[in-house]
């Protein structure tokens, strides 16, 4: 019984440690969130896109899924898919993000209320729409927000998937999307 053994050895050799520290690094009243978010998003190799560009992009591709309530683009009906394994050749997914973080350009995307958690990862291209009013300063602000939120799975996404595993050369498009467009509303 590993559980009993582990807990027992922890119980048998107690030692004192410091208190759990209290801290607050939230950026209350931070200014220019939009400018900072945009700059960070660009560093992460995401592109800030306009509505027209998203519509044009969607027109260019064949297999498009649009789950965003912010933009009217016709896409495939998700209900025709029974399993996530059928989504392997999607060209473009458009969805709404909850909020963005100015210090690193990351966007929180929660899975609840949407089928197929794999959608933000599996398409060749991804567009995330977020409202400009839903930007926070740093990760401390972000987690203060998440404290009040219920989610089954959620992810901070900062840019398209990337790797530098071959000789430290940055390559965009590893196993996930090869581009990330951010539509600020």
């Amino acid at each position: 019984m590993s559980r009993k053994d582990i807990l027992k050895s922890l119980e048998e050799a107690p030692f004192a440690g410091p208190e759990l520290p209290d801290y607050d690094f939230r950026q209350a009243g931070a200014t220019d969130l939009l400018g900072r978010f945009t700059a960070s998003a660009k560093v992460s190799a995401a592109q800030i896109v306009h509505r027209q560009e998203v519509i044009a992009l969607a027109g260019k591709w064949e297999k498009v899924i649009n789950l965003s309530s912010e933009i009217a683009v016709k896409g495939m009906d998700l209900s025709q898919f029974q399993s996530p394994y059928e989504l392997g050749d999607l060209d473009l997914v458009i969805l709404d993000g909850e909020f963005g973080v100015a210090e690193n350009g990351a966007i929180w995307v929660a899975s609840d209320g949407r089928p197929f958690r794999v959608l933000p990862f599996i398409a060749e291209h991804l567009v995330i729409c977020i409202k400009k009013e839903n930007l926070v300063g740093n990760m401390h602000d972000a987690y203060a927000k998440l404290e009040r939120e219920k989610y089954s799975f959620g992810v901070f996404i900062a840019g398209p998937s990337k790797t530098a595993d071959i000789e430290q050369s940055l390559v965009i498009g590893a196993q996930g999307p090869r581009s990330l467009g951010i539509l600020l509303i």
Partner: protein, 453 residues
Amino acid sequence: MTHPEKAEAFIKNSERVDWHDAALWHVRNKRDKAVDGVPEWEELRNIASQIKAHTLANLRSYLIDFEQNAMANGVEVHWAKDATSHNRIVQEILERNNVKKIVKSKSMLTEECGLNHFLEERDFEVTDTDLGERIIQMRQEPPSHIVLPAIHIKKEEVGDLFRKELHAEPGNNEPSYLTLQARIHLRKKFMECQAAITGVNFGIAETGEVVVCTNEGNADMGVHLAPVQIHSMGLEKLIPRQKDLGVFVRMLARSATGQPITVYTSQHKKPAKGTEKHIILVDNGRTNRLTMEKYRSALQCIRCGACMNTCPIYRRSGGHSYHFTIPGPIGSILAPTTDMKAHSDLPFASTLCGSCGDVCPVKIDIPNQLYRWRQDIAEAGGLSDGKRKSMKAMSTLLARPRLYRNFGRVMRLGLRILPKSLITNRYNVWTKGRDLPTPPKQSFKKWYEKNHQ
């Protein structure tokens, strides 16, 4: 083989040593730039260190909280006291679900447990899906770095490997081309996988969720496709509150690669409908390490790799010279806690320059621990013959001022007038791969007396 012996093979090719050294120093520079952008960095380090020390001191109750909350989320929690019991649990879950094909994302813990080998011996197909991990898996070698597993390999070698394994086109060694070949190959593996295994960066006691940080998106591809998900987590990955992620997420990627955050910070709480999620809590020596007061803080490590990137010995000897799953400075203080005798050479693979301690985001006093290990090893009689004799001679010398002065005079003269072959010989390991400096004409003492009266 000891670290110096293994390093000897690596440093034979001095061009490669310079290249390896420069690649890692480049990562260290990126880290510095990212850190400079956070004015509260030093405060964050203090807090991160305190949170970790606090959690370790209260690990029992946090583990119980974590288990309860994860179970309430619908996750199955398992406990493994060692590598064998971890691997057996994985096997049992896979067999119960008739799984044959598994995709894995990067995890030093499963490396530590020898999981790939264990599963392959039992006819499972395991595919590592992080690009660097896939490369070394194809080459059948262990990672040489905990964040950059294939940092020791050149693109021409990856090209040759992919031509053999993936029928890539001849002569094309462009990283973007090779990455695309891997993407196509791995896509196929994802679409066939029946289970996904990941490591864990952080487990949150208060919510029961596990957090996995990656850049490639490979961990999420596997986890969200496969109906069976297994997250293997070392006991020390626990942190108390979700709020504490704010501290650690801000520090991890900045310390590791100089990014302000990894591309994906995935927070897994509940399994998706129709799928099952497992978390395996692994001890494998960790509770024992906690009892070693002098060395327990090494368990605060968040595996960012910064101490490797900055270490002059690591950069110039390569990760494979450390015969332990975790190489570099942190590996050198972790290894002897598992078996001091087998790893007694590793605490000596350091100049004690202190750089590792300065960059460590959770403020582990790595240089002090290396120094303490040296003393413990010497006391236990674990020094090599040569080292023991020269230490003894040195302490005799240093304890006798007159003898020391005379010795200095003789050496200064000797080094100048004796033929090089007499000094650089096989008995003097110091001159292997190095030259001695030209000795000054007078001692420091003489110089001081003359200039500072």
